[in-house]
Amino acid sequence: MRLTLPVTFGATVVLLASACGGGPEPIPLTDPDSLAAAEQVRRDSVASEQAVRDSVTRVQAEERVRVRRQQEARQDSIMRIQQETAAVTEMLSSRIHFDFDRSEIKPEYVSVLDAKIAILRANPMLMIEIVGHCDERGSDEYNIALGNRRAIGAKQYMVDRGVSAERISTRSMGESQPLVMGSNEEAWAQNRRDQFTITAGGDGLVQPGI
């Protein structure tokens, strides 16, 4: 009998120890006093394991929050950039209009062009194209020349104010692409215009400083 118990305890301890995997080396049990010690070791091991588990869970939770906040911040940032880019693009693409058979910049559109110049200054990689359009009057061929004159007129205004000529290309559509269909002054006035489009550097545009 005396021989049996220690074997049983010993087996239990060995089992516990192996279950913890990486716990202290099992103490060889030679007498009944060592049972208490073994039990203490077991309790300590379980508590330690729980502590590790808690710690991992906590760290994981914190990490998740951190990542989520980072993602949210990034998305906010992307959205802000997108919104800003969209706002700048909209400012950039606002049209200017002309009097019949004229290509001079009308006074009410000077501020529109000045805003575009500020955007070009604030975004040095930005390149644009100015496309001149005409109403349906005049000859088809003359309207190519007039549309070209309207495009290069707006470009010259910007170049005169410091924008590099290489950043602005020009083209005429003549009367081939009316904005509004119709043969009346209202439609014609809408169709006599310059349109501004981005040809390069249009990502992440920033608003010009005030």
Partner: protein
């Protein structure tokens, strides 16, 4: 038979009462005209048949559209040349010699008579008689062929041109064709409005113009790459040639060939404005800028038929007006006179093939009308007044102009004879623009 008797009666009357035109009403059917202004041309009726009828109908229309004759038409069963007699005409299908009753034709007011006679399987003959000289002027043969075939119409148009040449001494325009643009596509149409064919081109077409040989044409792909291309008019359009080397940031348009086809002038829109350039097509070289105006545009060049001068549009005085220069670019001056601030803007000049006139369109009181300037006197005459009328282009005879008109509602091509003012509608498909009339050779098969 009844008609024949009527004719006989009126001939007798006419012989005895010169100048009493009321009596002629019995024989002149179809076209009302003022006698004495143009030579009368009698189109003889004859036997029926789908082929001979088609030839006669097309021929009759072509001769009418030449505006060189007063057509005298005779309807009815009996043929004026049929029956026994001692005429000098060609044998009819029954093998009997036809009667050519010159005295009768002369009494009807005809100086010329045209007879279309069927010869069974071998086709039809077309004979032009000189009524006063009592001789045959021209005799042509048209072999039997499919009436629906476009080549058939072309053949009859060519015969009509030969008849006009025989009678009037100047070739007709029936076999010429007109290019025009509709919704960015290019079409051609025979001078009588038939046989509309879409041409294979690259991109949306602008500024079409015939080569003087009538076998090819130039156009611009606008607003695509704005390059000038030349393509064959008879197929083989796979890869039309870009004739002027591309340059960055420019748009080329409004090409025009020199009369010998060796040179091309065109307008180029660039960062400095629009100017006229010439290019040597024969040697494929030597791009030359002919106008240099920093603050004005120059465009729509057109050669004089001797190739020595170029008329063009310029805004150098503010509004667009018609100017002229030597073909090398020297001696630039105002061509069509205008009153500053009064006369409307002027556009799209085209020099007539005989060199006598320049046609263009000009703004008039909120509309646009076609004008012709006499080159010698530089006097300007307004030709149209109903609706908007623009982009005139000369027929090879130098007296007919095709132009775009809104007079019937939508934009159509109309043709005006500048001598008589007579107009006719060429297209009926709407929204057409930019017509370009070919030289005589276009489509000719004779």
């Amino acid at each position: 038979m009844i008609l024949f008797l009527l004719i006989q009666a009126s001939v007798v009357q006419a012989a005895y009462s010169q100048g009493n035109r009321a009596l002629d009403r019995g024989v002149r059917v179809g076209i009302t005209y003022a006698p004495g202004t143009l030579p009368g041309l009698l189109i003889l009726d004859g036997e029926r048949g789908s082929f001979v009828d088609s030839v006669r109908a097309i021929l009759q229309r072509d001769l009418d559209y030449s505006d060189l004759f007063e057509l005298i038409l005779l309807f009815g069963g009996d043929h004026l040349t049929s029956g026994p007699g001692q005429g000098s005409g060609p044998p009819a299908s029954d093998g009997l010699p036809a009667v050519v009753n010159y005295q009768l034709y002369a009494a009807l007011g005809a100086q010329f008579a045209v007879d279309v006679v069927s010869h069974g399987d071998s086709g039809v003959s077309v004979t032009l008689y000189d009524v006063l000289g009592e001789t045959v002027r021209t005799e042509l043969h048209i072999p039997n062929q499919e009436v629906g075939d476009a080549r058939f119409r072309t053949t009859v148009h060519s015969v009509a041109d030969e008849v006009v040449l025989g009678a009037a001494g100047t070739p007709g325009i029936a076999s010429s064709q007109v290019l025009f643009v509709r919704d960015g596509r290019l079409y051609r149409v025979d001078s009588d409005g038939a046989n509309i064919t879409e041409m294979a081109t690259q991109g949306r077409v602008y500024s079409p113009v015939w080569h003087p040989d009538g076998l090819s044409f130039a156009y611009v792909n606008f607003p695509g790459d704005s390059r000038i291309r030349v393509a064959s008019a008879e197929g083989g359009f796979g890869n039309p040639d870009i004739v002027v080397a591309p340059a960055d940031g420019v748009q080329d348009f409004a090409p025009s060939f020199s009369p010998n086809g060796a040179m091309m002038v065109f307008a180029r829109a660039s960062r400095t404005g629009t100017d006229i350039y010439s290019y040597d097509l024969a040697d494929d070289c030597c791009l030359q800028r002919l106008t240099v105006c920093q603050f004005s545009d120059n465009l729509s060049p057109t050669y004089s038929p001797d190739g020595r001068q170029i008329a063009f549009v310029s805004t150098r005085a503010g509004q667009p007006q018609i100017y002229v220069m030597a073909s090398e670019g020297t001696g630039q001056e105002l061509f069509a006179p205008f009153d500053f601030g009064v006369t409307g803007s002027s556009f799209a000049p085209e020099w007539s093939p005989d060199g006598l006139n320049v046609a263009f369109h000009r703004d008039v009181e909120g509309s646009t009308q076609v004008f012709v300037m006499d080159v010698a006197s530089r006097s300007v005459r307004q030709l149209t007044s109903a609706g908007r009328n623009e982009d005139p282009t000369w027929a090879p005879d130098g007296r007919h102009l095709a132009y775009v008109s809104s007079r019937a509602g939508s934009n159509q091509i109309w043709i005006i004879d500048i001598e008589t003012g007579r107009i006719r509608q060429l297209t009926r498909m709407g929204k057409v623009r930019l017509p370009a009339w070919s030289s005589r050779q276009s489509g000719s098969v004779l």
